[in-house]
């Protein structure tokens, strides 16, 4: 081993007892080492074994897991240590930062107590001294007013603040290694940027090595020194981050990079999707586990699993064809015969072997963007700009009362979830709603889908004003055609499909509800439309992979031939390699069927890929609205600029050079307490606004403090933004590297 490696994992294997006594191999031969001050990223999708391997390293797997190989921490073998010995290393030598800090902190203890408890596990100090240290740590990770906040409970913190607490706990005993398992996955982009900076601070303060486990290549590009890509329990490529992104040597890595929607790419570019889905561990065969999805696979790949072989200084790849000099990013040769995208939609071929019910339908094997197809050409001819709007929203308002107390409930304020939103969606186009959590995206969508008279403002769906629709008699009957014309697809397909109904019934249900007699033919048609097979109608949702389930949800949404489809985070719950296929499918369906999409997402790269126009929401208001290309290329509102700048670009060269605006604080809450008139005065973004903070003239600041900016046209007719100082020249708004 190299002398300065603090954590060295060698040939780690982890298996769990599976069905019928056959062990499930979750990790199959992982080796890595990290030095002090170094960051190693372990990249992979669900089931790749990346989290299991880290839990194995700190000995926290369930007792039925079988772990072999070697994990050495500062030269000491950890595998085989008993719980007492391991407990001395956990937290003190190797610390963890977990995903989803809401569930990762015990709800009944104050955060200061939790950190103090972590300190006292390893250090013999008084509880006062531990508490004092806890407050210092909270300050270090950027919790404002730490002495007071130390007494708060986890539920009183936002997600970002809780993650800061997690990091404070992790560095409490000055560890040598910090393993961060998806530390920013559940967070807003603006908060993700903050947390990565806190992690960098923590690394500086402790000099620890960081093992960053993530599925997000953008985070890897900006943060890690080296990366190991895992697939089906094995490392398939290891390299320095720069080299990995510049020239991936394993088709899976190349496919991942190619399938990422990127903020710096244009709209509507066809993503190169990887067909199928990550394999289930129970069904691994003898060959390369990626072979069924690989455009470059040859016969050898299907029979023999390649070893991870060193191919250069600190580089290794597990691919039989590494030495052949293939251009993986350019896609396979024309004769590889796996591309099926020439026909545009539908994604018909489903070449999955019957045994692997988990596999995804073929979604265009690493296919190059094709020349415009027939349907695309048709769409170009369609007069998009002049089409009558399928959705018009004017000054929509939705406020909830905020109550407090469990024994005695009383109203203390108002949640201004949606506070004056206006939108238009012309037929056949996509409008994206973007914003952080709490910005009112989902509330807006739900108000539209309810088809009820809005609390304030007006909504008109397919030319039918909802206020008028809900007046008078026979509302249900009259609402029927409107209801049929609008459909929705939600984030989690497993949760939104009834698990007890076979897919055929799921698709027939909307048809029957709306009085269509014969459904079998339409069900078949729908399945084929979304790239599934007619024979899939007898299967249950759980028998499909995530991507296929989302296809079923899309098919169900399309059953009644809607003209407007609301897509609420449709790809957020899916694996990276599967997302591209769904996004391509949505694009194809839109062109083919002339659908209008209301696309809600927090993922700006995805929005960049799909949206014709975009509305940026902050605190229930639209702050910037307009043509997507124009907004993304030249954002005018400081909030839009900050949002865009917070999105990591999956390119280490770009990512490390670009200026970044880090917004201070959390996404603000839309709650206005009773009697707090000040909260409603002036521009509501100003507490976090980098532009406001940079304004020098008092009268300019005064304007922000006194007057709520209205949405005003900017530049070309189709753009508007709500800011008093759109023309103010502001160089770097906030220095990158400032921890708020």
């Amino acid at each position: 081993m190299s002398d300065d490696a603090v954590l060295e994992v060698t040939d780690l294997h982890v298996s769990f007892p599976g069905e019928k006594g056959r062990p499930l191999a979750a990790v199959r031969g992982l080796s890595y080492q990290v030095r002090r001050g170094e960051t190693l990223a372990i990249v992979g999708e669900s089931g790749s074994g990346k989290s299991v391997s880290s839990m194995a390293a700190i000995g926290l797997l369930p007792t039925n897991a079988k772990v072999t190989g070697s994990v050495r921490f500062r030269g000491r073998e950890l595998l085989g240590l008993n719980d007492k010995e391991m407990s001395r290393i956990r937290g003190a030598g190797i610390a963890m930062v977990f995903q989803d800090p809401l569930s990762a902190l015990t709800p009944v203890y104050r955060v200061g107590e939790a950190i103090a408890a972590a300190i006292r596990v390893h250090q013999d100090v008084t509880s006062q001294a531990a508490m004092k240290r806890a407050v210092e740590l909270l300050e270090l990770v950027g919790i404002p007013d730490p002495a007071r906040r130390a007494l708060a409970f986890p539920h009183e913190f936002s997600g970002g603040m809780r993650q800061r607490v997690m990091i404070a706990m992790a560095i409490a005993n000055d560890p040598d290694v910090i393993i961060a398992d998806e530390p920013t996955t559940a967070l807003d982009v603006t908060v993700q940027a903050q947390i990565l900076e806190v992690l960098a601070t923590a690394k500086q303060a402790t000099g620890a090595a960081i093992v960053l486990i993530t599925h997000d290549l953008g985070v890897v590009a900006g943060f890690a020194d080296r990366a190991a890509v895992m697939y089906a329990g094995r490392p398939v490529e290891t390299a320095a981050v720069q080299e990995l992104f510049a020239a991936p040597k394993m088709p899976y890595t190349a496919g991942l990079l190619g399938s990422l929607p990127r903020l710096d790419a244009g709209r509507g570019v066809r993503l190169r999707s990887i067909p199928g889905a990550p394999p289930s561990l129970a069904e691994l065969g003898a060959g390369c586990p990626f072979a069924p999805r690989c455009a470059f696979a040859v016969d050898l790949c299907r029979t023999t699993e390649p070893e991870l072989l060193e191919i250069g200084q600190g580089r290794a790849a597990a691919c039989h064809r590494t030495g052949e000099g293939l251009d993986l990013m350019a896609g396979p040769n024309g004769d590889s015969g796996l591309t099926d995208q020439a026909s545009g939609i539908p994604d018909t071929a489903d070449t999955e072997p019957e045994a692997t019910s988990d596999a995804e339908g073929v979604e265009g094997a690493l296919a190059e963007p094709e020349a415009p197809t027939k349907s695309e050409a048709a769409a170009v001819a369609a007069p998009v700009g002049v089409a009558e709007p399928v959705l018009t929203v004017r000054d929509l308002i939705k406020h909830h009362p905020l109550t407090k107390g469990s024994i005695i409930r009383r109203r203390i304020g108002t949640v201004r979830a949606v506070d004056g939103v206006s939108l238009d969606i012309p037929a056949g186009t996509t409008l994206a709603l973007v914003g952080e959590s709490g910005s009112g995206k989902t509330t807006t969508v739900m108000e539209i889908l309810r088809l009820r008279t809005p609390q304030g403002g007006s909504i008109s769906v397919l030319g039918q004003d909802l206020e008028a629709l809900n007046r008078g008699r026979g509302v249900r009957r009259r609402a029927q055609p409107v209801r049929a014309g609008i459909a929705a697809v939600f984030q989690d397909p497993l949760a939104s499909l009834d698990p007890r109904l076979p897919v055929g019934d799921l698709l027939a249900e909307p048809l029957r509800t709306h009085g269509h007699g014969k459904t079998a033919g339409r069900v078949r048609e729908l399945l084929e439309m979304v790239g599934l097979e007619a024979s899939h109608a007898n299967r249950f949702p759980r028998e499909f992979s995530g991507g296929q389930r989302q296809r079923v949800a899309i098919a169900r949404a399309l059953a009644l031939e809607p003209r407007l489809v609301v897509l609420d985070e449709p790809v957020s719950a899916l694996d990276v390699s599967v997302r591209a296929g769904i996004l391509n499918l949505l694009g194809d369906l839109q062109r083919e069927l002339g659908l209008a999409y209301l696309f809600v997402s927090h993922d700006l790269a995805v929005v960049r890929h799909v949206a014709d126009r975009v509305a940026v929401l902050n605190l229930g208001r639209i702050v910037e609205y307009g043509d997507a290309d124009s907004v993304f290329e030249d954002p005018r509102h400081p909030y839009t600029r900050a949002l865009l700048s917070a999105v990591p670009v999956p390119d280490p060269v770009v990512e490390r050079q670009r200026e970044r605006i880090v917004l201070p604080g959390d996404p603000p809450s839309p709650v206005v307490l009773d009697g707090d008139a000040e909260a409603l005065r002036g521009c509501r973004f100003r507490s976090r606004c980098p532009l406001y903070a940079a304004l020098e003239k008092p009268e300019a600041r005064e304007l922000c403090e006194s007057t709520d900016p209205a949405l005003t046209p900017v530049g070309d007719a189709d753009r508007s933004a709500a800011c008093h100082h759109l023309d103010a020249w502001v160089p770097a708004l906030v220095q990158s590297g400032t921890v708020a």
């Binding site: 926290l60 015990t106 409970f153 409490a172 005695i408």
Partner: protein, 326 residues
């Protein structure tokens, strides 16, 4: 704040009033105090029966509305009427409440503690022999009728007493009749009498709580925060107790408050079998004696207890769980 508390209390008062009135009307229209007197040997003259019934406000010849009005007027001024044997209902209830409280208090508290401990062990050793044993025993107790359990305990006690050669554990009545000695002697005597009945209550409570605690504990066993605690270097045992059990106790508060409320309204079998003259015994006997006022008072008592239990459960929940505190 005051206004909201007031609203809640008013709400409770309405519920209690409604329950009690309905209870009285049901008792007054279905019980027949006249029969109680008429069946005496020798049968008393009708005139004297009527006189007694009138005096007790129990005469079925008086219209129900009038009897109800008379009773209600009394209740408002704190007078719950007379029992059929012409004693004060309030005084009787006051005496018996103390008896039941003494019986139930130790039984439920110890039962809950034992049950929580058993449930905890059962959960962290899921599907192991100890879990199977605890599960089997708790179902055995839960499916044994209380009177059978009590009788079995009596038999066991007899054996113990025989083995000890003295009445180590008396199992009837609250005290030994005609006991002489200082207060300490009396206290020990009461304690000895308490053991067996308390045990009979405790077993059932422990069995019940162990089932609830087991499933609550299983819910939190896989929780991320236990993993976090372990990752800071905490050993498995302390992590399971400080982070797991502490959180899994929250739903138990509600169960405990309502169980306590329910049991206080009368552990009829236990009282009957062990000769304790508490609320449960009184309720059954009152129905047998066609004692309308006592039954109505019992309904009032039950309603008050259940609502207090609800309030206590909310308070306990808020104390245990900071998420609902503010």
């Amino acid at each position: 704040m005051g206004a909201f508390l007031l609203r809640r209390i008013v709400n409770y008062l309405v519920l209690i009033t409604l329950a009690t009135c309905l209870g009285y009307l049901l008792a007054a229209s279905s019980l027949s105090p006249r029969e109680y007197f008429a069946q005496r040997q020798p049968p008393p003259p009708v005139a004297s029966v009527n006189a007694t019934l009138n005096q007790l406000n129990l005469n079925d010849k008086t219209p129900l509305e009038d009897r109800f009005a008379h009773w209600a007027k009394g209740v408002v001024t704190g007078d719950l009427g007379k029992t059929i044997d012409d004693t004060s209902v309030s005084a009787e209830m006051g005496r018996r409440m103390g008896v039941t409280l003494r019986l139930v208090l130790f039984g439920t508290i110890s039962g809950a503690l034992v049950g929580v401990a058993l449930g905890f062990v059962s959960a962290i050793r899921q599907y192991r022999p100890s879990d199977h044993t605890i599960t089997f025993l708790s179902f055995l107790v839960l499916s044994t009728p209380v009177f059978l359990l009590a009788v079995l305990l009596k038999i066991g006690t007899v054996k113990i007493n025989q083995a000890a050669g003295t009445t180590l554990l008396p199992y009837t009545n609250e005290t030994t009749a005609g006991l002489t000695g200082g207060w300490f002697r009396h206290l020990v005597d009461r304690g000895q009498h308490l053991v067996v009945p308390t045990l009979s209550l405790m077993l059932g409570q422990a069995a019940l709580f162990s089932r609830y605690q087991r499933s609550a504990m299983l819910d939190v066993l896989g929780a991320d925060y236990i993993r976090t605690a372990r990752a800071t270097g905490m050993r498995r045992g302390p992590a399971l107790v400080k982070h797991g059990l502490r959180t899994a106790l929250i739903p138990m508060a509600t169960l405990f408050a309502y169980q306590m409320g329910m049991l206080l309204t009368g552990v009829t079998f236990t009282e009957k079998i062990f000769g304790w003259h508490g609320m449960g015994e009184w309720f059954v006997d009152s129905i047998g004696r066609q004692d309308v006022n006592a039954v109505a008072a019992m309904v009032l008592f039950t309603a008050v207890l259940i609502l207090i239990a609800g309030l206590l459960s909310d308070i306990a929940h808020a104390l245990l769980d900071p998420r609902v505190r503010d």
